[in-house]
């Protein structure tokens, strides 16, 4: 007989142990899946681990995959903390990429790298924030379900991105060479506008990754050490209690949506400035990557803690990078998505162990049951 009782106090070590245990359990489940599909799990895991975390080339590629996930993970964590389900990081990231590339094209290569980076960050964050404020305002003033509106806006943002890449009237479209006229893409950044990198021990650390860590620390301070963060968690726990105590919930919804969108938009700016330097419609482009949705996985695994988002983001980034590296007949596409899903399911199931205590009670020890049996 299994009894599940609510924990009166939650020991702090559980907050670390349960997610780690969940990940370990997920890899066990995945091993069974791999065995069932005719792969050797030990060998697959070793190759995954090597491709993700062994050697400077692997680490460089992992940080490249992880950087956008840190931004989208932080964006999701920010909103989800207040029980505001912003699933629109995907679209907000597109808008950030579009706006930051736009300002870089407009400024031109002559203004200096620092100015370019600051302008790209401001415009990227602004674009993402404005896109997020549409569902934010609808939620605050019309109480429209934000899950659906943010998601629908992802598709709209995708169409907008396609339009800006393909349409000849678009100021983003590059029509300077024959190649770009037949394979449409946007105007590319000039090399002097590329975001810088650090290379300690041959590991390429993109500027965006450091920026994301900075944002994570900032958000952590905001959540844990300020009145704003406190009010966010009160509203998240009980909207009604927050309003009775005089908190301005509408304003908070707008602020948090805007902040969440701004972080996702920064991710878009970093994607353009650090990595792609161009917007295109290839399967490797923004729309094929689904950074926004993976960000939700990262945020949920990190239990919406911004510092944990950095760690989980690197882990999931490593998994994605290794999946891409190993892609082939014995490691089909989609397997990484399946693994992420299983990890997330295990983490969600593991939440039970944080909130509840599971006890195994022998049937005989239940006096009520034995009496009823007589």
């Amino acid at each position: 007989m299994i009894k599940i009782e609510r924990r009166l106090d939650q020991p702090r070590w559980l907050n670390v142990a349960v997610p780690l245990g969940s990940i370990a359990f997920a890899f066990l489940v995945m091993a069974v899946v791999l065995l069932a599909t005719g792969h050797n799990p030990v060998d697959t895991y070793r190759r995954l681990f090597n491709a993700a975390f062994v050697g400077s080339a692997a680490w460089s590629a992992t940080l490249t995959s992880a950087t956008p996930l840190l931004f989208t993970g932080l964006a999701a964590a920010t909103a989800f903390r207040m029980n505001l389900f912003n699933i629109g990081a995907e679209g907000q990231l597109y808008l950030g990429a579009v706006c930051s590339l736009g300002i870089a094209i407009w400024l031109g290569p002559g203004v200096g790298t620092t100015t370019t980076i600051v302008a790209m960050c401001v415009c990227g964050a602004g674009g993402g924030a404005l896109w997020a404020l549409i569902p934010g305002a609808l939620k605050a003033f019309a109480r429209t379900n934000e899950i659906i509106t943010t998601l629908m806006l992802n598709y709209v943002a995708g169409q907008l991105l396609t339009y800006l890449i393909f349409d000849s009237a678009s100021p983003w479209r590059d029509v300077s060479t024959i190649q770009t006229r037949s394979f449409p893409q946007s105007i590319a950044l000039q090399p002097s506008q590329f975001w810088p990198t650090l290379t300690p021990r041959d590991i390429v650390v993109p500027f965006g990754f450091l920026l994301a860590i900075g944002v994570a620390i900032g958000l952590w301070v905001l959540f844990k050490r300020t009145r704003f963060g406190f009010e966010m968690s009160v509203i998240g726990d009980s909207n009604r209690a927050a309003r009775y105590s005089g908190m301005r919930t509408r304003r908070k919804i707008l602020a948090v949506m805007g902040l969440s969108g701004a972080v996702a938009g920064l991710g878009g700016a970093s994607q353009v400035g650090d990595f792609s330097h161009v917007l295109d419609a290839s399967p490797q482009g923004l729309q094929g990557a689904a950074f926004g949705y993976t960000g939700i996985v990262v945020a949920a695994l990190a239990r919406y803690n911004p510092l944990a988002v950095v760690l989980v983001g690197v882990l999931i980034g490593g998994l994605q990078n290794a999946g891409l590296y190993l892609q082939g007949p014995d490691f089909p596409t989609g397997l990484v998505g399946v693994m992420q899903g299983i990890i997330l399911f295990c983490a969600l199931g593991g939440e039970l162990l944080i909130r509840y205590r599971v006890r195994f009670v022998p049937r005989a020890a239940q006096p009520a049951a034995t009496e009823a049996a007589k």
């Binding site: 019309a142 429209t144 949705y293 939700i296 949920a300 989609g334 399911f345």
Partner: protein
Amino acid sequence: MNDTLVVEVLTQAVVYGTPILFAALGELLAERSGVLNLGVEGMMLIGAVMGFWAMQHSSGPEGVALPLAVLTAAFAGMVVSSILAFLAISLRASQIVSGLALTIFCGGLGLASYLGNDLGLADVPPKHQFSDIDVFGLKDVPIAGPVLFHQSALVYLSWLFVLLISLYLMRTRIGLNTRAIGEAPGAADAMGISVPRYRYAHVLAGGALAGIGGACYSLAITPGWTDGDSLVGGAGWIAIALVIFAFWRPELCLIGAYLFGGLAGGLPSALQAHGYKIKPEVLNALPYIMTIVVLVIVSTGLGRRRLGAPAALGIPYVREER
């Protein structure tokens, strides 16, 4: 008469509304029992891929292969929905995050893509597909003919489901029990109705219907399978919006589905066919924008008091804490 723009839009509205209708009916069943399942999009993708696979690999004639494919799609949707049921009902996890997890797991970069590629379904020409049936020879009746009497069997199956689910929820004992669980699980439990058992059953039934909805794409509308999530393209999310729009009533789902279907597929394809020059991106974005507009209207107007929403929707039921 029957090739005017209006008739074409209406015909396509029924075609494109049908998958949304199936998925919305499934979601409605789950939500009426108090479980919000946000995994509809993922379940539809799984239904689409498995339905197409079953159709390609059954050796029988069309009359056997297609029903078998629909059943396989339903079963596949049911299997993946059981993950959400276990997490949300047995393990009391957040229904919203579990549903999102299900969509990510099943979605275009996850299980659906894995299965489709592993089973070698990409760019394979379909062996069979649902063709339009001329019901009672009424195909050439003005307006109603092409719109109502010249559609695929899946359309008529969806009508049957609307009728059955309406009767089930309003007129049968277990249907009433289900609604009681969605409104007040504590009271239903006290009456001796097993809340987990009912919720499991309805989430699984919802998964099956979402699977059939996905199969509408791979077997009828755009026969075949393509990698990524473009095959279903957000219809699962529109279905969730539709349930809100229909105030959790099956018969209103029917009307709403055709409204959304008209916007999603009917209007764009008809406008293009008639040579109207509108940017394709605008047409493609239209259904999503209209979904938002409709939701805003519903949430500011009649739905202000969440008319029809089951009171216990989205709340895990824990007997010890009621």
